[in-house]
Amino acid sequence: MKVSVNTEIAVTYLSSRKKQTLVAAMGVMFGVSMFIFMQSLMKGTNDYFEKMSFNTTPHIRLYSENKVADTHMMNNYLRDSSIKILDNPKQLIQRQGIINPYGVINQIQRDTRVAAITPQVTANVIYTSGSVQLNGTVAGVNITQEDKMFDVKGNMVTGNLEDLNHVNNSVLIGKGIADKLSLHTGDNITVGTGTGTPIVMRVIGIYSSGVKQVDETKSYTNITEAQNLLGKDRSYVTDIKINLKDYNAAPDVAPELETITGYKAEDWVQANSTLKTAFKIRAMILNSVVGVILLVAGFGIYNILNMTIYEKIKEIAILKAIGFSGASVISIFLQQAIYIGIMGGIIGVFFGFLTSYGFSKLYIGGSAPVGGTLNYIPMSFYMPHYVEAIVFGILTTIAAGYFPARKASRVDPVTIIRG
């Protein structure tokens, strides 16, 4: 390969002041590796919390929502193009729950994007044990399917999950409920809803999801048990929970399900909007830290090039006198910046990976070795972060190198040579 004379001069200048070059490259290295580390940490934790939320939230939840009267009946009846305005619309009286839930489930199951689907009866209840009462919800589920979707087994503290299927009037309670009501496996608990008669149920196990709010309110029972609690028939289902093969598709699939079924389909992004906001804020904080680091690295490069130009101003004048154009001089100095950037970028990628890897092995485990708690700092190793880091690193060096380079290109040879 033919190396251009500009490149040769740039490389010579860099290697004749090795120490400063190295310091400038270290600045870039630091910026790039911090960028990678921060991004890995951020994506790692975000992914972790996302996965955590899937321990309790399905990708899509289908339920019947109370509706407010709208104009579509009038439109159907009048069949003209006039605009109707409803004055003071009221809530419509609606049947609770989903009509023909198993028909709906069969229909949705035919969609190839759907990985798992299960019905649920949700009941707001009051737990009573002795003289203490506690508000909460009971989820009537098919525990085998539920376990497949949300790994309930991994959250078990004591007891056996399958007992829910063959012990009559059995319930699986959260650890928070057990603590507050001082309950153990095998104890009895009274569960009552507003509508049906209270039922004495047997605690067959205790789980801990790691989410305090869930563990203090939610318990599982068989779906028929929940229907009994509410005094409803066997076709009464309040929610249909759907997991997709690709959870990122949920925001697209949900509206489709809404049009097909006529029920409200809430995807996990809507359900966890606070989580998403937290992600955004965290991203902003980390990105500004990385931005500041890159800025400092940029100043390092700006500084070394300015110094080089100050020291070599006579030589720049000579180069111009013997026929180097302004563009050549810019190229000579910009190349120096770029080589510093590439050098720092490559070392930074290695260093960033090592730091991320090291942190991912750092034990920060909680005391209870239960699924769902955070034992190691979650780190993701995601290729685009590394590419972005190098790109940002080099862009910074180009930006930082451009102004000194332009200054060099404007040196007037006669003024300098005349002395």
């Binding site: 004379v5 001069i9 030589e315 000579i318 180069l319 006198a321 013997i322 026929g323 180097f324 563009a327």
Partner: protein
């Protein structure tokens, strides 16, 4: 006068620091191709200033400059850089080499810039030039490790590397002993006579000036004699 290498008319230049004073006053010069011209005059009379104007490095003057029949006045910086690279070799008063490079590289750089020859060809040509001035054994030393006289010879070799039509020197032999001055003079003469290159050099060496084709005498920013009646 058929072949004109350089023609300047009405060159006037002012310095504004500390007060506006004319340094060059309405100077007219023409130099034929293959001519070996010396410029002499008292220190401070404007010789270097004139040479910078003639070499196209200084664009801040009034008047008109033509090089090889092409107008140089008013052309863009890039054009002039290209013109200098290709057609003008310049030896500075204070030899100015690039200290981070070895002598060989210093000589090679203008040719690499021009890009007409391959790297190998440029390298052997540069060696040849260094040999002519007896500094080939210094080729791989850093330029700032050489004595003043050696540096000056390397600087002259650098000015010749692209076989420029015009070679300008600002006291190019100022740092040389009589033996090396003799070598440089003989070489300059050979270049003008055999290769028809043109030489314009400022000198304080009376002997050097007397042996050249023509002496232009300057005083106080003006030309006192064109030396044509030799």
């Amino acid at each position: 006068m058929a072949d004109i290498a350089l023609m300047a008319t009405g060159i006037t230049k002012y310095f504004h620091d500390p007060v506006t004073t004319p340094v060059l006053k309405n100077i007219a010069i023409d130099v034929a191709k293959g001519e070996f011209v010396s410029i002499v005059g008292k220190s401070g009379c404007g010789k270097s200033t004139l040479l910078y104007v003639l070499s196209t490095m200084d664009r801040d003057y009034e008047g008109n400059l033509e090089i090889n029949g092409v107008k140089a006045t008013g052309r863009s910086l890039n054009d002039l850089a290209q013109l200098r690279n290709e057609s003008i070799g310049f030896v500075f008063q204070f030899h100015y080499l690039l200290p981070d490079f070895n002598c060989l590289k210093n000589v090679m750089i203008p040719a690499l810039r021009l890009g007409k020859l391959s790297y190998k060809e440029v390298e052997s040509k540069a060696y040849e030039k260094l040999k002519m001035f007896g500094v080939e054994d210094q080729a791989l030393k850093r330029a700032d490790k050489l004595s003043g006289g050696q540096q000056q010879r390397v600087a002259i070799a650098r000015a010749l590397i692209n076989d420029p039509a015009i070679i300008m020197g600002d006291e190019p032999t100022g740092n040389l002993d009589s033996k090396n001055t003799g070598i440089v003079f003989d070489l300059f003469q050979k270049l003008t006579q055999e290769f028809h290159q043109t030489i314009i050099t400022v000198t304080h060496d009376e002997d050097f000036a007397r042996r050249s084709d023509r002496i232009i005498e300057m005083a106080d920013g003006e030309i006192k004699s064109h030396g044509r009646n030799k």
